[in-house]
């Protein structure tokens, strides 16, 4: 099982002919992910590692009607157009890897995805991986088996690099992964912790989830609220990075709107407090998450 991606995930890569898009296509194919088509406007008819390229997503869908997932790997200013193209064509899962998407564009595409009921993960996601079944995006790099062993712990992270590092820490302690994904750390994340946790709750093959949070926004606080309200009942282990941020030179905040909107939330300390108050186990230092997972699952890592 796992969530979002599995052996039935049929992928189209938007931006497949780019340097990164073509590299990640090769790695996905090596993993066994079913990449059926790619789209790059103007490059229809080409092939990338044997995958046919089309000018439009519509053409790709006509030739490969089982495609259900899009990986968006286009430049930042084209991400909104590509994502809306995918949503308009009825793709059910859109994963945006592109970083530095302008926030007005993200707001537009999120609003549109919401109206169509499409699941969008990203922008600034590193992808989604269900071990042994599907690797969507650059997650895990060229050797995902190294740290993503099949197992029963889910990972949801704002940070891409820390998705893999978290899997590695768990792997060393003897735990495998049900599904790992990064949702990105942008102000507007099209999928938040509180959107993803219910999917793990419903997944019979996930026993516990590790959450990796970062400063800013309220997505960690919303996760805490979800747990408090009973929307997520499995063990949740969290690490919140960025507690050092207090010592950075930041000057006096520019404008008042940020302070008014955050309503006293948003700092790592407040996130940790909110999560602990909801009963979430929060690690002080990152590698301690393995111990907390073991504790939560009521067994010692060494005996697994």
């Amino acid at each position: 099982m796992g969530i979002l991606v599995d052996e039935n995930t049929h992928v189209v890569v938007q931006g497949i002919t780019g340097r990164e898009g073509s590299f990640v296509t090769r790695e996905m194919l090596r993993y066994g992910t079913q990449v059926l088509a790619g789209v790059t406007p103007g490059k229809g008819g080409e092939k990338v590692h044997g995958v046919p390229v089309y000018d439009t997503l519509k053409q790709a869908l006509t030739e490969h009607p089982t495609i259900n997932t899009s990986l968006v790997y286009v430049p930042p200013l084209s991400a909104k157009d590509a994502a809306i193209e995918a949503i308009s064509n009825g793709i059910r899962l859109v994963n945006i890897i592109t970083e530095r998407v302008p926030i007005h564009d993200t707001a537009d595409l999120y609003s549109y995805a919401l109206s169509k009921g499409t699941r969008v993960v990203g922008p600034t996601s590193v992808g989604i991986l269900t071990p042994g079944k599907c690797k969507l995006g650059p997650i895990g790099g060229t050797n995902p088996d190294f740290q993503f062993k099949p197992g029963r712990v889910g990972i949801v992270s704002k940070s891409g690099s820390m998705t893999s590092e978290t899997a590695w820490v768990l792997c060393q302690a003897g735990f495998g992964i049900s599904t790992a994904l990064s949702v990105g750390g942008d102000v507007i994340a099209c999928s938040t912790f509180a959107d993803i946790l219910p999917l793990f709750e419903a997944d019979p093959e996930t026993d516990a989830v590790v959450l990796f949070g970062e400063p800013g926004g309220v997505y960690e606080e919303q996760a805490a609220q979800l747990v408090r309200e009973g929307g997520f009942t499995k063990p949740l282990i969290a690490f919140i990075a960025g507690k050092f941020a207090d010592m950075m030179p930041s000057g006096i905040t520019f404008g008042h709107a940020g302070a008014i909107m955050e309503r006293g939330l948003g700092s790592p300390r407040q996130k940790v407090e909110a999560l602990r108050a909801a009963g979430v186990l929060v690690a002080d230092v990152h590698h301690e998450i393995a111990t907390l997972v073991a504790e939560a699952l009521g067994r010692h890592a060494a005996t697994v």
Binding site: H104, S161, T163, T192, F244, G255, H256, M261
Partner: protein, 410 residues
């Protein structure tokens, strides 16, 4: 990028939003026009142009009735520093009669995952306190990003905030114009505090706080704002050098560098990894000399440049080159850049490396060769060492080095 008040106001003006008449002065020799201006408009406000809030309370705004007074205030505020932000000039503005002060802001919010408009009849310097004591005094409404802010919606919001009749109509009009400015210029925050109402019931933007979206700059090639730091202090020499690394080269990122007070040089990879490792170092009692994060598969020469910047800070006692098991960044290539930097600097202090990912075995071998060739005190860890655990090693190494210096009396 944060805009100075005078830049923000000229942007608002383009959208038909009234701003007080004013002149911008950025050098004493340009101050000659003050006398004529004061004669024309009467009482003026002289405002230091800094990128910091709470300016009025810090003495950055002076009101003057005479040209002599205004000239003196200009002299005073031309090169002042407020909350660490150096003034780039002064804005001399007509002081208007005020019958009302309101608050208007447009920004993005994670609760709604949408743009929001914030509107209050109680604008002015105490808006944050008002938001705590009397949150209902500030109306906050999400805006459908695709639909925008139509006039009827703006009227509804103004009415909910307590504006009536002609006042309501005028506030709605101001909001619609402000939203167009917000949208068309890829603004992340547009705040007018206060919006002032004059006796003739005209609304003016008495201040302007605007933050542009750096991620959208490439579609605004007409913007012509000089570069500026956002730290509340001027950039240091090394921070300026680091900024040049990514200029005109979009392959990966290696130019984020913030100088701090500590003695352990940080060469850290990945955004999330870098802040996680900073936390670990500090929680074990270490003092970072800087913050940095490189990533997105940068070429070797970028990492070499960053290494030179990071290791050139005086007073270092150790260097921690640390990163997660990389997804996509080729660590053999980035370590090649690091080694080139080591070759140039030849640091006498200890180095601790912890990394993994594509090309790690080649990288490890190259680091071992460099250690021998350059006679470095370098400890090399791969993924077998938990990332944050290696913080303890670098702190211990740094202590040993400090002790050695002490016994050598240097």
């Amino acid at each position: 990028m944060n805009l100075y008040e005078y830049e923000g106001k000229s942007l608002l003006k383009k959208y038909g939003i009234r701003v007080p008449e004013g002149i911008f002065i950025n050098a004493p020799q340009n101050a000659g026009s003050i006398e004529a201006f004061v004669e024309e408009v009467g009482e003026v406000a002289v405002k230091a142009q800094v990128l910091a809030g709470k300016r009025a309370k810090a003495g950055g705004i002076r009101f003057c009735k005479t040209a002599e007074g205004a000239e003196l205030a200009v002299e005073l505020l031309l090169h002042t520093t407020i909350h660490g932000s150096e003034s780039v000039g002064v804005l001399v503005e007509q002081r208007l009669s005020i019958v009302g002060e309101y608050y208007l802001a447009l920004t993005f919010d994670g609760w709604y995952r949408a743009p929001v408009v914030m509107l209050s009849q109680q604008g002015g310097v105490d808006i944050e306190e008002i938001s705590q004591k009397n949150p209902e005094a500030i109306i906050i409404r999400p805006i459908d990003s695709i639909f925008g802010l139509p006039e009827w919606k703006a009227r509804e919001i103004a009415a909910e905030a307590g504006f009536r009749e002609e006042r309501m109509r005028k506030m709605a009009d101001l909001m619609v114009r402000a939203y167009r400015c917000f949208r068309e210029n890829d603004i992340r925050l547009l705040e007018i505090n206060p919006v002032i109402e004059t006796p003739k019931m005209n609304f003016f933007a008495a201040d302007a706080v605007i933050i542009l979206d750096d991620d959208a700059m490439t579609r605004h090639r007409d913007f012509n704002y000089p570069p500026r730091g956002g730290l509340g202090r001027p950039l240091t020499q090394r921070e300026l050098q680091a900024k040049l690394i990514d200029q005109n080269d979009y392959r990966g990122v290696a130019g984020k560098y913030i100088e701090l007070d500590g003695d352990i040089a940080m060469m850290s990879a990945g955004g999330g990894g870098s802040i996680t490792n900073m936390d670990a170092l500090i929680s074990y009692g270490g003092h970072p000399a800087n913050y940095t994060e490189y990533g997105g598969n940068p070429p070797a020469e970028k990492v070499e440049k960053l290494t030179r910047v990071v290791l050139s800070k005086p007073g270092l006692t150790a260097c921690w080159h640390v990163g997660a098991v990389a997804n996509n960044t080729r660590v053999d290539i980035t370590m090649e850049g690091f080694i080139a930097g080591l070759r140039a600097i030849r640091p006498p202090f200890p180095i601790v490396v912890r990394r993994g990912g594509p090309g790690w075995e080649e990288a490890r071998a190259a680091l071992e060769r460099a250690r021998e060739e350059l006679h470095l005190d370098m400890t090399i860890f791969g993924p077998e060492m938990p990332m944050t655990e290696s913080a303890k090693v670098v702190i211990q190494k740094s202590e040993e080095y400090k002790n050695k210096l002490r016994t050598l009396n240097c």
